[in-house]
């Protein structure tokens, strides 16, 4: 998902663990108690959560780029207003998530630095280009749709600040998906050229979207501990299947064809079976070699340096006001 790149070995030294404290912690988690910022927690739990929430936050922020790319070219004022509001929401999601991660003891500046240096990852999906307006429909319908699938169970995550941030995020995501699907409906009911544009966008995005849920369970490194700690409630494959089952009928309603000849409804399991995912492509994109990785990082770094003057000016202004206030005679005395 937005944190699919967690599937790498954590290279930090293994933290010492205290078996007694760990089992007390696990008992609280098992009893569905929420863990709050200053509570005792195993170092590995803190570290996993920090990485997961930071990756999630980075994904929200980098995710503003492929959509922001279309704001000035939206086909109507209505679509422009909606897209602008959506992209602003994604910035807000990043802000809620950084704040939640900070409660675990890592500063926002540190997290941002890890993103800009390439040490931290963001979702592979944002390394694909938005080539036509139909891609904006697809991103709302499928990318936000997949994000919702993942984020709804995160509202029950054992870590309180993350769960609360997810509640806010989920409330806002529904509009994101619906505005995307509405774009798709408009295109699919439009001219043959518009319909074709919608189909081509689906063809480009379908497989990368399925990869958003992360590697298959059999290759997933951290699923066991994440499930035990109730950070995760469903495995990658379970969420992917839920998503496919929910999405395929929506695509058929649009009159579109999914680019997967193996896609077939299984009447016994009542699930849609889908074909083999190209995990080699997934690994390539996560490792930095997707169609837009370099461009995204370049944009993020440029944003950081180009906006430096704003941060400096804000600091200078606050300092000046503080000094002035300190120099003022205390009138009340």
């Amino acid at each position: 998902m937005y944190t699919q790149a967690l599937n790498t070995q954590d290279s930090a030294p293994v933290a010492k663990s205290d078996p007694q404290a760990d089992s007390r912690f696990q008992a609280r988690v098992d009893a569905e108690e929420k863990i709050e910022p200053n509570d005792a927690m195993p170092e590995a739990y803190r570290r996993t959560l920090t990485r997961q929430i930071a990756q999630h936050a980075h994904s929200e922020i980098v995710g503003m780029l492929p959509e922001g790319n279309w704001i000035t070219r939206a086909p109507s004022l209505k679509r422009k207003a909606a897209l602008l509001a959506k992209v602003q929401d994604e910035g807000g999601h990043g802000a809620y998530l950084y704040a939640a991660a900070e409660t675990l003891g890592t500063s926002r500046e540190q997290m941002e630095e890890q993103l800009l240096s390439g040490a931290a990852k963001y979702s592979s999906i944002f390394n694909y280009p938005t080539l036509t307006w139909a891609d904006i429909g697809i991103v709302g319908w499928l990318v936000d749709g997949a994000a919702i699938m993942n984020q709804i169970p995160l509202c029950r995550c054992s870590y309180g600040p993350y769960a609360r941030a997810m509640v806010r995020v989920c409330k806002e995501e529904s509009f994101h998906q619906r505005q995307g699907y509405e774009i798709m409906i408009a295109l699919c009911k439009g001219t043959p050229a518009q319909k074709q544009m919608a189909q081509e966008a689906l063809n480009r995005w379908w497989w990368p979207v399925l990869m958003m849920f992360g590697p298959p369970d059999k290759d997933s490194l951290h699923t066991e501990s994440a499930m035990r700690w109730k950070i995760k409630r469903f495995t990658n494959d379970e969420l992917r299947q839920k998503f496919v089952d929910a999405t395929v009928p929506q695509g058929h309603f649009l009159g579109l064809t999914f680019p997967d000849p193996a896609l077939k409804f299984d009447t016994t399991t009542q699930h849609w079976n889908y074909g083999e995912i190209d995990w080699a492509e997934f690994k390539r994109v996560v490792a930095g070699d997707g169609p837009c990785n370099r461009q995204r990082m370049k944009q993020m770094r440029a944003k950081h340096t180009d906006n430096a003057w704003v941060r400096e000016a804000a600091n200078a202004y606050a300092n000046k006001r503080r000094q002035r206030a300190a120099a003022m005679p205390i009138a009340a005395e």
Binding site: N38, G92, A95, Y96, A99, E102, E172, R311, N315, A318
Partner: protein, 95 residues
């Protein structure tokens, strides 16, 4: 990196008159005015509130979760603080 880190502010919102301000999250800002603007943009994009408070996080004194028992356990034994501790005959009616 040139930017020194901006202080953290806790954000409280009153969703409508008659309700208390409730903690919703936090923002970074150089001063109170900027914190208020950031809180508005971050936490009230859909009519979530009529009033916002921002408080420097460093100004909050919090109880330590490790002291939870010492702080809160004594009340558990004081059941006579609850109305159900007292027996009133049914004939008296609701009290």
């Amino acid at each position: 990196m040139s930017d020194q880190s901006w202080p953290l502010w806790e954000v409280f919102i009153r969703t409508r008159n008659g309700l208390a301000h409730r903690h919703v999250g936090s923002v970074h800002a150089v001063d109170a005015t900027m914190a208020l603007h950031a809180a508005r943009d971050t936490y009230t994009r859909r009519g979530e509130g009529l009033s916002v408070w921002v408080v420097p996080s460093a100004s909050i004194t919090a109880s330590d979760p490790a002291d939870k028992d010492m702080m809160f356990e004594p009340t558990a034994s004081k059941i006579y603080r609850h109305p159900t501790f007292y027996e009133i005959p049914d004939e008296v009616g609701h009290m």
